[in-house]
């Protein structure tokens, strides 16, 4: 038994925002109320903290199997726990690609003893090559929660139509990494004044929105559930907004780095290289509006670890991607909550009910619900030191950034899987 004492419960599903104790029995929430008796329960003092439903990350790369030099399921989930996440959806672009049930099963088995829940995403096409459909039904039985060819878009409109129809019949959403390869080819950052000044080959913003537009049209044609991964431009967001207005089941996620940084922040440091690339100031404004008005459904990290030797090279040569688990919440607080752009309730929703709805799951704090909880502080001051990261990789542009607000503890299935060592942090 665990007693979470004195926290401010924020539960978007019920709209609850009040201080109360939560008693956990085994892996479920047993009781919620004022001054609950601890008895022999382990007490977690949540005074001054927010207690929210467990955060879900819809988009990450755990690199296992095949790229364990960069991350393993164990180290990735340790970093996720330290970021306040209780469940993470890992993309299928491993080696081998998660396009069949045996790879899915191996991921699920490897994750069983890890700190947070791992919900694999299966490939849409065999090897994510864009030819034949992957074994989606078998993977679903093995535990996938969505399909995607992430790292690249579903290759053609025709294949997208087939995948959407098929996945819909199986009750799965299709997550698409939207990018027109012919426009993006060879690019290293967003095309614009900064790419011109730095002499880096540019990727035009239209490379993304063209593909979002295609996907929305295909969603109209096929029905089914379309989720746009790491949406980064105003034009893409307009497509999603229009699709929603037309009643289509189209959703999207935005990453913390895209609502925090812009192309003008790029320097010759490959920790500023990701795909989609950091977009323009105007695009960032659009994302902030979308996060506030509900067009954006979820915040997802796109945690993409790369080991130092692969990333510590010339900018153009470096692979795309940055780590994101441990900074997501604090970046969100800084850019969205402390700046008064969105309410705390909406903010929590972007990490909990938002992603849950996309996966057709429930996420709420109520008696009988699974005890997956995220505790975080709005006040705690800390500095992100990438050298102390639980991830195996160090590729973050936020090294040394000072934050105001932090994850404090992560509870998964009734177990405290991570807790911030405040005493140690205070000494440093």
């Amino acid at each position: 038994m665990i007693l979470i004492r004195g926290g401010r419960i924020i539960d978007p599903a019920s709209g609850r925002d009040s201080v109360a104790d939560i008693l956990i029995d085994e892996d479920r929430i047993a009781q919620i109320g004022d001054r609950l008796r601890a008895g022999d329960a382990q007490v977690v003092d949540a005074t001054g903290s927010i207690v929210s439903p467990g955060f879900i990350d819809l988009h990450c790369h755990l690199r296992e199997p095949g790229q364990e030099l960069s991350e393993t399921i164990e180290t990735g989930t340790a970093a996720a726990a330290a970021g306040g996440f209780t469940a993470v959806c890992c993309m299928p672009n491993t080696q081998p690609v998660n396009d069949n049930a045996s790879v899915t099963r191996s991921i699920v088995e490897r994750a069983a003893n890890c700190r947070v829940r791992v919900w694999p995403i299966g490939a849409a096409s065999m090897g994510s090559k864009g030819d034949g459909l992957a074994e989606i039904a078998a993977m679903k039985d093995a535990g996938i929660v969505a399909v995607s060819d992430d790292g690249r878009p579903v290759a053609t409109a025709r294949l997208m139509r087939q995948v959407m129809e098929y996945a819909n019949a199986l009750g799965l959403p299709v997550i698409d990494h939207c990018e027109d390869g012919s426009l993006a080819a060879g690019g290293a950052m967003r095309e614009g004044p900064t790419s011109i000044r730095l002499g880096l080959p540019g990727i035009p913003g239209a490379s993304e929105s063209i593909c979002v537009g295609r996907d929305v049209e295909v969603a109209k044609l096929s029905g089914g559930r379309l989720h746009i991964a790491h949406l980064s431009t105003r034009a893409s967001l307009e497509h999603v907004r229009e699709a929603k207005n037309n009643g289509l089941d189209v959703t999207c996620e935005v990453t913390p780095h895209h609502f925090t940084l812009i192309d003008e922040d790029v320097v010759y440091d490959s920790n500023y290289k990701m795909n989609p690339p950091l977009a323009s100031d105007d695009d960032r404004d659009a994302l902030l509006e979308g996060l506030a008005d509900g067009t954006v459904d979820a915040i997802a990290t796109d945690h993409a670890p790369h080991h130092a030797a692969s990333k510590d090279v010339e900018f153009e040569k470096a692979p795309f991607g940055i780590t994101g688990f441990e900074t997501a919440l604090a970046l969100g607080l800084a850019e969205l909550v402390h700046s008064n752009r969105i309410s705390l309730m909406r903010f929590v929703g972007l990490f909990t009910t938002g992603p849950a709805r996309i996966l057709k799951m429930e996420r709420k704090i109520a008696e009988g619900q699974p005890a997956d909880l995220t505790l975080f502080s709005l006040e705690h001051r800390w500095t992100f030191q990438v050298k102390d990261s639980a991830s195996k990789s160090r590729n973050s542009p936020f090294d040394g950034r000072e934050f105001h607000g932090a994850p404090m503890a992560t509870v998964v299935g009734g177990r405290v899987v991570w807790q911030r060592n405040v005493a140690r942090a205070a000494r440093q």
Binding site: L198, G199, F315
Partner: protein
């Protein structure tokens, strides 16, 4: 700031702060640029001296790390170093260990372990000089990084223009060619804009994107070369990188028809307009032979000024002497 400044002592009126590296033109001040050009003057004279060897950098070693094929820039740096009395270590793309898969960082650390006093780097990746400068303890001179900058080229162009026009201020400069992929164009735009230049860019539209106009104030694009040349004080013709004609496929005949610098077209510029080209030139493609060899052409002056500018920079960055030290060539020129 990417170009670090060392010796931040009390400011001297005439002498700007010493540079630690030369990575790009963009952050340099007009004072720093003018100082470099002034310091290059005695070295210009020195090139005509019968005995072209100083002892200024005797015992110093300059690593020439050319990861991208280069003839003129490499020879220019090697000669500049030799005339200052320095030794050089050569790394050339064709024979380099990069072919064997060694990373840029490891190659540079290997060079550094042989204790050179500066590294001159040419590399196909934009930002390569910055990358190296962040990881070594010796001065780094950028001899061209990808499509980013080629600062010594811009400085030698500025010296050439100043000699020809008598000034650097308020010039009308027209650049013709593949500007998107040109580090020479970028460095020149940064440098001359600091002195108030108005730039007109002209070339195949896919190589002259609108965002180039954001590089500096007073940069505009024009599609017709005759219009672009109107009233120019300086005309810069860029080499057509024939390897780029393939992306997208583009006809060399069309290039000649639309953008070749011909004597007729040059008449649109001011009568005394200076014609520059960073070389190597492809006669009959981007520039007509009559123009390349004509009285307005500065192409060979650019080459010899390259020596003077590179001697200046090597002396400034490697000698360890302050900027107000006596000029090393001052005693040699009559």
């Amino acid at each position: 700031m990417l170009t670090e400044l060392a010796n931040q002592g009390p400011a001297h009126i005439q002498v700007p702060q010493r540079l630690r590296h030369l990575l790009e033109v963009a952050p340099l001040t007009t004072e720093q640029i003018s100082f470099i050009l002034d310091q290059a003057k005695p070295f210009q004279e020195f090139q005509r001296h019968p005995l072209k060897k100083l002892a200024t950098l005797r015992g110093k070693t300059i690593a020439l790390a050319f990861f991208e094929p280069s003839t003129r820039t490499r020879i220019s740096f090697a000669t500049a170093a030799a005339r200052l009395g320095a030794d050089t270590m050569n790394l050339q793309a064709e024979s380099s260990s990069l072919k064997k898969g060694e990373s840029l960082m490891d190659t540079v650390w290997t060079l550094e372990a042989m204790r050179p006093d500066a590294i001159v780097i040419r590399h196909a990746a934009s930002g390569a000089a910055h990358f190296v400068a962040q990881r070594v303890d010796i001065p780094v001179l950028n001899a061209g990084d990808g499509t980013h900058e080629h600062p010594t080229q811009a400085l030698l162009d500025a010296l050439t223009i100043r000699d020809r026009k008598g000034r650097l201020e308020d010039l009308n400069v027209t650049i013709i060619g593949d500007i998107l992929h040109s580090r020479v164009a970028r460095s020149n735009i940064h440098l001359l804009s600091k002195f108030g230049a108005r730039f007109t860019l002209c070339g195949p539209p896919m190589w002259v994107p609108a965002d180039l106009e954001t590089l500096a104030p007073r940069v505009v694009r024009m599609s017709r070369i005759e219009q672009a040349l109107e009233g120019a004080d300086v005309v810069m013709s860029l080499r057509v990188q024939t390897e780029r004609l393939h992306e997208p496929p583009f006809s060399a005949d069309d290039y000649v028809r639309l953008y070749q610098l011909t004597p007729e077209r040059l008449k649109k510029a001011k009568p005394d307009a200076a014609v520059l080209h960073p070389g190597p030139i492809i006669r009959g493609l981007e520039i007509d032979s009559t123009v390349a060899d004509g009285p307005q052409s500065c192409i060979l002056e650019q080459v010899s000024n390259g020596l003077a500018v590179r001697m200046t920079l090597l002396f400034q960055l490697v000698s360890g002497l302050g900027p107000d030290a006596p000029h090393p060539a001052s005693g040699t020129v009559q």
